[in-house]
Amino acid sequence: MTPPVKNDSAVHKFTGTENVKHFLISNSVPIIFIALSAIAIPISGFSAGYLIQEMLTRLARNSFLVLSLLIPIMAGMGLNFGMVLGAMAGQIGLIFVTDWAVVGIPGMVLAALISMPIAAFLGFICGSVLNKAKGREMVTSYILGFFINGIYQFVVLYTMGIRGLHIPITNPQLVLSRGFGIRNAINLTGIRRALDNALPLTHNFGHFTISIPLGTYVTIAAFCFFIVWFRRTKLGQDMRAIGQDMAVAGSAGIAVERTRVIAIVISTVLAAFGQIIFLQNIGTMNTYNSHEQTGMFSIAALLIGGATVSRASITNVFVGVTLFHMMFVVSPTAGKELIGQAQLGEYFRVFVSYGIIAVALVLHAWKRLQERERARRGLRGE
């Protein structure tokens, strides 16, 4: 007997306006920020050349860090402050190479090698803790960041530099005058712009000159390829499965907790590399502060790029970093021009970075609520 089951495709296609509406809603966050930039840029009075140069530099500086957030999101662990731990590990690596005066690219590589086991260990701890707090990863990792920060400060401030007893740091430019502990500001002259300038590229556009940190972009491109490739591995597939439904993935035999730990470890190690890249561009390191803002700013950038707690793409990273830093550069000046007070722009900058996290999370919660509402409709009617 022929199965009397017919399956034709839908006759109705969505109309143009429906599609546009859907597009606007799902990209509401980046669109709002594009609009804000469009208003603020002319007010600030910056030249195109200046802004392009700024964006190129900042994209190179921050993208690697933000990219390190993608893998835990894929595994359903949300926006994760675990990367702050990686940033600390990266800084410890930098302290050592500065002390040993290893310079240039070798210095960066060595710092990366030193930071790797530390980051992996911290990531392991973080992942294990997050396994006890499923569904509350963002808050838990934030608090865990504070805790590990305490340990970091203890290690760096008290144990580094005491001769014979503790971790040997000898360079007097690093150690506080009391004889132990690392100074607050470290000059990273040895590795400053080592990667940015590894492949120098400048171009003269007549009235302005643009220099592109090509070495860093090559590294970032390699990272993007890694992520694309990683999604195609068995491990990546398992993470996607876990991200959708831990129970189903578990009942198919995927080691859920172990895989989640791996996701965090990968993310922390990459964040350590990201922090090293970030600091080589800045050129100085605030031993006790540099890592603190890393997490908040990276998450804000990613959310502005249109990512959600459960979905984030490489495009979101680049769009987000560009828009976030555009606001960052433009808003203080725009504020000054508008009200005559630079201070206001500074407030706005802080408001942007923290406020956007709140706004993006609220928007995300709202979207989730809509979905749940939809599921409940079936229930409600019953």
């Binding site: 089951v5 017919k6 068995k234 959708q244 993935a249 939809r374 009617g381 019953e382």
Partner: protein
């Protein structure tokens, strides 16, 4: 295909005096049977008889050990096993398709079928990071999925996402997953056909027979007794957790099996007719289209009279399920719908609800119940949310109090009317058997007491004895409250027994509306629309006559 004649062979599976108690509530007692390679065993029994529990024991489900384990022994090929997790069972060659779905919504059919058994390719990084860093071999995955699907003999789009598949396709995907597992010797299917339309079920039955010929044994649970008789080599009838009879299809009949299940005689449905007065139109639908995956509605026009029970029937995938979903705003829809003389804005579910319409959707698993809450809560919840029922107001509505006594009363009433099998009205929904959860879903809608009630597949997963109760309750609610009911069902007999008029949907259009008293053949012709080449054997149109 039975090895039973060969007395020297060891059975693949022996269940020896298995018993189970949930906190003092005995649900299985002294169950004995054995199963040989390539044999299909049918397991039938009322809702709550213990079928799923027995299979959970066999499959090592954690819920069993968490609730105190089981008595008796299970032997695989003569060796006693005591699985502590489903993985042990899988290693021993047992596959199970559960009563609930376990598909990942964002994975394609291919990815779901091969979940955690993906084909992979070597790359040098494997030497450092181990096997999990192998890349997926998408092409081979697709090949294996195609192969498993073709063994099933049902076409599923291998690239369709889990979330977007029609219910029937989800079920086939789950079974394809077990087929791909080459080591499977014993396949347990817990009501695999419950969510399928009859035509889909037939395809499934055929492919299961093919699997048995490949030497795979099966335990098949179903409430559609005709299927069990058609498919199985052996039938075991459970009543209150005991085996009341082990028989062969040739030696029994639906009537006998049904009577043994319920422990009394089951009468065939007497289709008494009532005279429907010519009342005013309450729901008028003009040129409705609904974009529901797998159940597309193209152009549907009909009207329902106040106080009527209106049936919507048709073959799977023709769009009958889309109509209610579209009117209730769950899928994008267009056209003109008029409720009580006023136009209804489509695509706005909240609005549909506020206009005194309620809906029991066909896919009730998961979303239908608050699983961790007790029965009375579940039954009263919607009415409380939407209509402030079961709420006592103090100080002129300033303080609202939950009226537990009233909730209890109504819960007990429905537990009684629908014979919901439970230890009491405070039992948590998660502890109920599948069929009894279903009854709670229905009770919930009845309690809301809407003016227009849409019910899709009301007796899905309900045992043969209780089907009548459900249909009677629909009729009763209709008569007591004057509610207009629109019943969508793939079982024509069910529609004919409860409805006043029936519309048949074919290719997204209504091919005819007839009085329910017209002979079944007339509906059969309508179902097949203008394509007479698809006419199935007359017997399959009727389905079970209970």
């Amino acid at each position: 295909m039975s090895n039973r004649l060969d007395s020297a062979a060891t059975p693949l599976l022996t269940v020896d005096a298995v018993g189970k108690e949930f906190f003092g509530n005995r649900v299985l007692e002294e169950v004995n049977f054995s199963l040989y390679a390539g044999e299909i065993l049918g397991l039938v029994g009322e809702n709550g008889a213990g079928k799923s529990t027995l299979m959970n024991i066999l499959f090592g489900m954690p819920v069993i050990s968490q609730t105190g384990g089981y008595d008796g022994r299970i032997l695989i090929e003569g060796e006693e096993v005591r699985f502590s997790s489903p993985f042990d069972a899988i290693d021993a060659g047992i596959g199970m398709v559960h009563q609930e779905f376990s598909l990942l919504p964002g994975f394609t059919a291919t990815e779901n079928i091969l979940l955690n058994r993906e084909s992979t390719k070597y790359n040098p990084l494997v030497e450092v990071f181990g096997d999990r860093i192998k890349t997926l071999d998408r092409r081979d995955m697709r090949r294996r999925a195609d192969e498993a699907i073709s063994i099933l003999g049902f076409s599923i789009d291998p690239e369709a996402l889990g979330a977007e598949m029609p219910v029937g396709h989800k079920q086939f995907t789950e079974i394809a997953r077990e087929i791909d597992r080459k080591s499977t010797k014993l396949l347990v299917l817990d009501e695999p056909t419950a969510v399928l339309a009859e035509s889909e079920a037939e395809i499934l039955i055929k492919s299961l027979r093919g699997l048995a010929e490949r030497g795979i044994s099966m335990i098949f649970i179903s409430h559609r007794l005709q299927e069990v008789i058609d498919l199985c080599d052996e039938i075991i009838i459970l009543r209150d957790g005991r085996v009341v009879k082990e028989t062969k299809p040739a030696e029994t009949s639906i009537f006998q099996v049904a009577s043994l299940m319920v422990g009394r005689n089951v009468e065939a449905v007497s289709t008494e007719r009532r005279l429907m007065e010519e009342t005013e139109t309450i729901l008028d639908v003009q040129n409705l289209w609904v974009d529901m995956p797998g159940e597309t509605v193209r152009d549907v026009t009909f009207s329902v009279r106040k106080g009527e029970i209106f049936g919507v029937g048709g073959l799977a995938g023709q769009g009958k399920l889309g109509i209610a979903n579209g009117i209730m705003g769950l899928f994008p829809a267009g056209g003109n719908v008029t409720v009580k003389g006023e136009p209804l804005r489509l695509n706005d579910p909240a609005l549909s609800l506020s206009r005194d319409m309620a809906f029991v959707a066909e896919d009730r698993r998961g979303v239908g119940l608050l699983l961790d809450e007790p029965i009375d809560w579940n039954i009263a919840f919607t009415a409380m949310q939407v209509q402030d029922k079961f709420v006592r107001k103090i100080l002129g509505g300033l303080i609202k109090w939950r009226d537990d006594a009233a909730m209890r009363e109504v819960a007990l009433d429905y537990i009684n009317r629908l014979e919901i099998r439970c230890t009491g009205h405070r039992q948590r929904a998660v502890e109920l058997s599948g069929g009894n959860q279903q009854k709670v879903c229905l009770a919930k809608a009845f309690v809301v007491g809407p003016e227009i009630l849409f019910v899709s597949e009301p007796t899905r997963g309900i045992d043969i004895g209780a089907k009548r109760l459900v249909l009677d309750t629909i009729r009763q609610v209709n008569e007591d409250t004057g509610a207009t009911v629109i019943v969508t069902s793939s079982e024509l007999e069910e529609l004919r027994s409860v409805c006043d008029r029936i519309a048949i949907v074919d290719s997204g259009r209504i091919s005819g509306v007839r009085d329910a008293s017209r002979p079944a053949e007339e509906f059969g012709v309508l179902m097949l629309g203008e394509s007479p080449s698809l006419v199935p054997a007359a017997a399959t149109i009727g389905g079970e006559t209970f």
